[in-house]
Amino acid sequence: MKHLSEYRDPGASRTLLSAIERAVTRPWVIMEVCGGQTRSIVRHGIDELLPEAVELVHGPGCPVCVTPLEAIDRAHAIAERPGVIFCSFGDMLRVPGSSGDLFTRRARGADVRAVYSPLDALEIANRNPEREVVFFAIGFETTAPANAMAVLLAKRRKLTNFSVLVSQVLVPPAMTSILQAPSNRVQGFLGPGHVCAVMGMDEYAPIAAHYNTPIVVTGFEPVDMLRGILRLVQQLERGQACVENGYERSVKSEGNLTAKRLLDDVFEVCDRKWRGIGSIPKSGYRLSYEYREHDAEQRFEVQDHAVAEPEECISGQILRGLKKPHDCAAFGKRCTPDAPLGATMVSAEGACAAYFAHGRIGRAPKGLPLYDERAAQGGAT
């Protein structure tokens, strides 16, 4: 298929790997921010093909993973209200809250529906004027224009029975939060290609300059990612910290101006809590004042309850690039995609779930020791 197959070419991948091997002289730690890239890296084994000196760590770029338990509990409480049709992207349906998931709610009689697009939820509202239709609007900047358009059309079409539960998050504040931590290991970022297709690259230059950290906006196919890694390694070896566009066919430096105007109209920036990380200032969107009539949180007045995460889960450290799934005693044992303990196992784009899905259980990434539970507990090795 055009614009996919050329970027999966094994010959081009070998060429890029060879160029990376020639370019690298010292160890470097590179983080991919986007969950789609994490999944692609693990699926194609890119991290295992790279020279040992280049370590990939996996960032907080899966919106399903970082949606806090409190937001999931709010979704469940709204879904259980009589007369509500609760619509969500399929990825969110099986993410457990503090008690079961949306499938559990559906089994108990709630009307929970998986939709491909927010426009599908809008159409459900149009066809069911006597019912309250709520859409769980999660996602990064990539998904925000679609969610914003659904809200704009609901207002324009006077679909007063349509509302959205917004849990939108933004990438640049999360990158800043990672770089600010004293324990930070990340020396360069593969920038999130589809987020930048919407937002452009302007927000990233101050981050690269302030933290002396190069950022290469990168696509999702193996050739795209290897090319991004090569350009990052070249910058790191030269001591540069620039923002480069490595996804030229889809990203313009100014982004998508039409979509950005819509985002400015429908949303306003707010603080958001990230699962596994905590609250990050100005890291999310909420509906702007003009569209609050479509805000499900206000419409349903759901109470917030603080929810504790399992102490054993290390997903917060994985999301910051400090640990890998194999560093966790519970990985693949007490924590699996069917019974996830925390953020990085709840969605296929989480680092733990991606490692699990691609058979990386019982073996450590090259060059790293496998966590030994018995040794850690003082038992025989």
Binding site: M1, L4, P51, E52, F89, S117, E248
Partner: protein, 100 residues
């Protein structure tokens, strides 16, 4: 979640003032909202995410990237050929050698 797939616009229609289009992805066709890509026309490739076109795929840039890759491939071939022949001294060590 941020997955977006390139597809080719086959036709454009206006639904309640919103531009929509049928987009083909290797054998599958879907109705996609084109409101965010006013510059896109029939025959263009667009990146589609949750039923919305995010951006128009720039064919000239796609071609340029592939040409750069081909050039890099030729360069790498030439360099490994020279290395095999022992003609190059003082090359930067590879990551594997350095990390070992």
């Amino acid at each position: 979640m941020c997955l977006a797939v390139p597809g080719r616009i086959e036709d454009v229609l206006i639904e309640d003032v919103v531009p929509m289009g049928r987009v083909a992805f290797s054998g599958v066709r879907r109705l996609v909202c084109l409101a965010h890509v006013p510059e896109a026309v029939v025959g263009d490739y667009v990146l589609v995410h949750v039923g919305f076109a995010l951006s128009r795929v720039d064919e000239a840039e796609a071609k340029r990237t592939l040409e750069l890759l081909a050039e890099l491939g030729e360069l790498e071939d030439a360099m490994s050929g020279e290395l095999d022949a022992g003609a190059v001294d003082g090359m930067a060590p590879t990551g594997k050698e350095h990390a070992a």
